[in-house]
Amino acid sequence: MVTMAPAGKVELARSVASGVVDPEIPVLTIADLGILRQVSWDRGRVRVTITPTYSGCPAMRQIEDDLRSALAGAGLPDVKIATVHHPAWSSDWITAEGREKLAEFGIAPPLPDGVVLCPRCRSSAPRLIARFGSTACKALMVCSSCGEPFDYFKEY
């Protein structure tokens, strides 16, 4: 049996954890979303720190389970998953790559100054249909130019 050094285990865990996708927006990984905060070595085992997005996001428990099974699948069954509330998650933490992936998927990403671009025609004059959409993080908009209804990932 090959015993891996803690540093190697942390590296492996980081790469596996970074690939876990959000169960509700599967084009994004938890690293893209900024939910994955830290992967470290703590008291003889890997410790993965995550920060919840919305208080009411039902995906958090699923993400924890997905992390656990992905890491176990990579040979890391003994992992501590810690939820840290401080500092509070912000949509500013979504990476540039994550924003591009959202737009390609048809969800308008949060942009500076509250700008919302239609993911179809890039027009910036949408109308709000409903403040609450299909998940906690999204609102429902319709484009005033091309008429496309679309999800907007809310600035948070």
Partner: protein, 245 residues
């Protein structure tokens, strides 16, 4: 030894405060959940469900944190499912029945405006976990307030019937607002009232003259409406203690 006794008393009051705010959010979440599949339109059904989930998430985080500080091994489920009515410390406002849609929105307006201030104050807490929970809950409360304010204006400034119902709701629920300022947590009644008056003015709704206010929720003395709500919510754990899935 005096020092350690003081520390215990302090952490006891911190736990009580966290549980009281957790109870506000849990009870309101349960109430809002009653709307699911019954709201006046699909978007509103989804909105009320989402708002309920936010309140539930806040309650879970506060209970978990309270359990950690208390150090007796109580979990979020112990707080939510294994306490009796007299141990719940929520304000009477959140346990009031949903009534019609106007009642639900006026109740939300009163509570959202309170929570916006409450969380803003707690974001400055030295307790990092509480500060993080409050920062997140504050963003949500501000968003909820946009929603409830917009509806109260739309109903108050809508048809004769919607106006009548919205005014009835304000008149019926006003008596439960004084309790919001009796602690725990520091919320300015003047700021709250100014925020509410702005919305009610725009809606063409008035504040009742009746100075009578009800209280007692923070001491576990509830209206007749909390018991049935808890009976439904806790039924599974009471019938099958410790059940998990």
């Amino acid at each position: 030894m005096i020092g350690s006794e003081t520390a215990t008393a302090d952490s006891g009051s911190v736990v009580t405060a966290l549980v009281a705010h957790g109870d506000d959010n849990l009870v309101l979440a349960q109430r809002l959940g009653e709307w699911i599949s019954n709201a006046p339109e699909l978007e509103e059904d989804i909105a009320l469900g989402n708002i309920a989930l936010d309140h539930l998430g806040v309650a879970r985080a506060l209970y978990t944190h309270a359990g950690e500080i208390e150090g007796r091994g109580r979990t979020e489920d112990d707080f939510a499912m294994r306490r009796a009515e007299r141990e719940f410390l929520n304000v009477l406002l959140v346990e009031q029945p949903n009534g019609d849609f106007a009642h639900t929105m006026v109740r939300a307006l009163f509570f959202d405006a309170y929570q916006v201030d409450l969380w803003e104050g707690m974001t400055a807490s030295d307790d990092e976990t509480l500060s993080g929970i409050a920062a997140r809950a504050g963003k949500e409360a501000r968003y909820h307030l946009l929603h409830s304010s917009a509806w109260v204006v739309r109903l108050g400034d809508g048809t004769e019937e919607s106006h009548r119902r919205a005014q009835n709701a304000v008149d019926a629920l006003w008596r439960f607002t004084g309790e919001l300022f009796q602690g725990p947590g520091q919320v300015s009644p003047q700021r709250w009232r100014a925020a509410i008056e702005e919305v009610l003015d725009e809606a063409g709704l008035g504040i009742p003259d009746d100075p009578h206010q009800r209280g007692g929720g923070r001491r576990g003395l509830h209206s007749e409406h909390l018991g049935p709500l808890l009976a439904e919510m806790q039924w599974m754990q009471r019938s099958y203690p410790g059940l998990q899935w």
